[in-house]
Every structure is written in C-alpha cells, then in structure tokens.
C-alpha cells in the first residue's frame, strides 16, 4: 500500500509525519534540529530517500542538512574530516558566496535599500531547496538576499547562477517586509533547461538555458503599491505553482491578486474572481486535475489572518475565477493564524491529499481533495513549510 511522508519545517525544528494511504493514523517524528529554524525541507523526486533541509539560526547562520534514508538520519554534506589542498577543512556545505564581477572583482551588482540608496547583497539564509527532477545530487537553493544557487554534489558545495542577479534589473530590486528572498523555484519537466523563480519584492523570472540567462516575466501584473503599477519588476510575488502535465500554465498568489498565465509567464491575467480577499501566501494545484487550485485567503497585508476568524481553503475547479470555500474540519470561529507561502502541498494519491501548516502550529490534512479536513498535529512551533512525498 502507498504511504505519504509529510515534511514540516518550523521555527524550532523539523518534523516528519507519516501515514499509510488512508491518511488517518499518523506517526510524528521530531523535532529534528531542535531549536533551529527550518525554513524548508524537501525530497528528491529522483530518489525519495534523499532529503535536503535548510537549517538556520540568528546565532550560528546557515547549515545545510542531507538525509539518504528518508529522514531517519542526517548529515552535513562534506561535514566529515576532508581537507582542501591548502590543508584547511573544506566544510563548505553551508557556504553561499555571491559571485563577483569577472571584470573588476567587485560585487556583481547592488540592490535598492528601503531609503532608496543602493545596498550590497548580504547572504542571510536559504528559504527554499528544490531538488532536481532527475539527479538526487543536484539541488537548487533560493536564498535571502535574493539569488539562486545550485549544488551538483549533494549539497557539499554551492555555486551561484549569477545570470539572475546580473541580467540588469538587480539594482531595482528591493526587500519586502519579510526580506528580499528568492522563495519559489519551479523546474519545468517538459523543458529541461527552463526554470521559473520568484522574488519578494522583485517579481517572477524565467531562464530557458538552465539558469545562465534570465528575464523578468511580469507582464499583466498590477501592483498599486509601487510607483508604476505595471512596471517590469518590483511586484511582490508570494508563490507560483504549476501542474507537471501542463507546465506552460502557471498560477500565482501575488501580494494582492491571484493570477494565471497560459504562456509560461509571458503574460498574466487575474483570476481572483469571487474570493473573499485576494491577499494570501500559498497556492497549489491538484495532483491529477490541472485546473483545480487551492489558496488560503488572508484578510490583508497588515492583518495576516483569515477574514472573519474563519480558516477557509478556497478551491477552484475551473483554473481560477470561480472559487468555493472548503471549511469542513477547519476552525470557523476565532481563528487568527497565517499560512505561509511554502506551507501547502499536495500528494499524488487517488484521491489527492492536500496539506497545509499554520503559524499556530497546526498541520491540517485532507484525504479527499479538500472536501474535509483534520489536524495531523495541533501544537507544533509556527510552521514555515510543508512538503509531502508519496511513497510506494
């Protein structure tokens, strides 16, 4: 019988939740890396036992962890006693160094600071890890300050794909309220060199050559909070989702507005429709129905909780515009949690399972595509990310 493994990153550690295909009885493992912020952990599609985790703290910085047995044991890649020719330890799995200009050796670019001046890039943490679709040793990291890194040796060493920061619009990027983070990485299964990424608050970008060159893909986005609401960059994209069978169709939860693109991001149109509010963070697509979407409407950008204190997932079966509230099993009074951008995922069982975690420490699961919900756990630290693996 198939089973599922839910990987939960929280403010104070990681948790692994497992169940059989019925998804009724759950085993909870954790906290792993207790006391550390786990922004994200995710399994390799090419080898489900290979997991990567981003572990960070305000005291000790960034650490990358790797498991080769589905999360039972973990290691810091390259953290054993290995030495470079200089005699110094290599221990580089937590080393993210921005590229400099090949011509001058100086920083590649600067970005806009809150006061309008230019500011150097400063590494803070890894927000998102995206394992390759085909190679367990290859993994991408989206970091704050916004940049994309890639490892091809299982997380031991990291190289920046600097064409993103260097393509020309970098000096106009500026941090959102949560920092200037690269939080979304989508690998196109039908075009091996195509990568979509999103940055708060710069927008969405696409590469068609495996990350060498990039361009903004924000036409059709409209953001009233920036001087030119339809500018090429500067949009606070919160999340992008795609369905594997139709990767040219993208769905976006922007700061405000739910958007759709039918041409791989060349243009976007709004599909917020009858949502009670179109502010929110996560968005995801049903595993078997490419036009079935899920969002969690949040009241506003200053009131990060559900409208009316009712925690409702909204589902569209029409690729947007027409939405229905999913409420069975979710708190419908006095609920003031948030659901962060990386904290929703779907499994690929039949029927599709949907999962999300809250800043109040609950992880909710639906084994019937959202019709009914139940908490797997209620009292974890604030949930930062949720991923799910469907296992044989």
């Amino acid at each position: 019988m198939s089973k599922v493994r839910v990987l939960v990153g929280t403010r104070k550690g990681a948790f692994v939740l497992t169940a059989d295909g019925k998804r009724k009885q759950w085993e909870v493992s954790g906290p792993h890396f207790a006391g550390w912020e786990i922004y994200h952990l995710k399994g390799s599609p090419a080898d489900p036992n290979r997991l990567y985790a981003s572990q960070s703290s305000g005291w000790f910085g960034q650490v990358i962890q790797r498991s080769s047995d589905g999360g039972k044991t973990w290691e810091t890649p390259g953290g054993g006693v290995t030495f470079a020719p200089s005699g110094m330890p290599k221990g580089e799995s937590n080393k993210f160094v921005y590229d400099t200009s090949p011509a001058t050796g100086k920083p590649l670019t600067t970005h806009q600071w809150y006061d309008g001046t230019q500011h150097p890039w400063e590494f803070k943490r890894v927000w998102h890890l995206e394992p390759s679709l085909t190679d367990p040793e290859t993994v991408y990291a989206g970091v704050e300050d916004a940049a994309l890194f890639r490892s091809t040796d299982g997380g031991k060493t990291w190289q920046e794909l600097a064409g993103l920061r260097g393509h020309g619009t970098g000096p106009k990027w500026q941090p959102g309220a949560g920092g200037m983070c690269l939080h979304t990485i989508l690998l196109d299964p039908s075009h091996p060199g195509r990568i979509f990424i999103a940055i708060s608050a710069a927008g969405a970008f696409r590469s068609d050559d495996a990350g060498k060159t990039w361009r903004p893909i924000n036409r059709g986005l409209r953001s009233q909070y920036i001087p030119d609401p339809t500018a090429e960059i500067g949009h606070c994209v919160h999340r992008i989702a795609m369905h594997r069978s139709r990767p040219g169709v993208l769905f976006m939860q922007k700061h405000w507005d739910v958007m759709r693109s039918d041409d791989a991001g060349e243009s976007w149109r709004e599909v917020s429709g009858n949502l009670p509010t179109d502010f929110g963070f996560p968005i995801d697509v049903h595993a078997h129905e490419p036009d079935t979407l899920y969002v969690v409407p949040i009241k506003s950008d200053s009131e990060h909780y559900p409208p009316e204190g009712k925690l409702r997932v909204y589902r569209s079966r029409t690729g947007g515009n027409e939405w229905e509230a999913l409420t069975k099993g979710l708190p419908q009074s006095d609920c003031y949690v948030n659901v962060l951008r990386d904290a929703m995922a779907v499994d690929s069982l039949d029927r599709c399972g949907v999962y999300f975690g809250t800043t109040g420490g609950q992880v909710y699961a639906s084994a019937d595509a959202g019709d009914t919900w139940a908490p797997i756990v209620r009292d974890l630290p604030a949930v930062l990310s949720v991923e799910v693996q469907t296992l044989p």
């Binding site: 005291w59 000790f60 221990g91 799995s93 937590n94 160094v97």
Partner: protein
Amino acid sequence: MIRVVLPAHLRTLARVDGEVELDVTGQVTQRSVLDALERRYPMLCGTIRDHVTQQRRAFVRFFACGEDLSHESPDTPLPGAVATGAEPFLVVGAIAGG
C-alpha cells in the same frame, strides 16, 4: 591541549559531548584555536565566524578567564591559562531573543 566549550547547538551539530580538546601549534590566539576547531569539525565552518570575512558572527561571543574577549583582535594571544589548558575558551551564543 586547548579546551573549548561550545554552545549546546554547536555541540549537537559537531556531535560532541562536553568540552572539546584541541592541539594548537604556535601561538594560541582566537584565530589559531578556531582554525584548529574547524579543522577537526568542518561542519562548524561558518557558524562561529563568517566563511569569507572570518569576522565573528554578531550573536557569538568569546569568553575566557572571566573576561569577554569578543572584541579582541583574532591574533591577540589568549590568556596563559587558556594556552596551558588550565582554563577553557568559551564560545557563547549571546542572549538575543527567542
């Protein structure tokens, strides 16, 4: 033999219990002690001082012999009691929020 006390989270990361004992050749300074520590435990690279600048991370402090040595030059000799192993060199996570 130099004795180093690590904060709990770094002991977990390095998979050690209690104090760490290190052989340091030459002058005993913050830099030579941390070099020896990172040589023995590469997973600690970047967690106490920055990978590139080698600057102490903001919320990490260095104490020894009842003194805060955090703002000393990394090449200043550490107290004799640390160099002889009579006193440990303490790496401390500052009290700074949750």
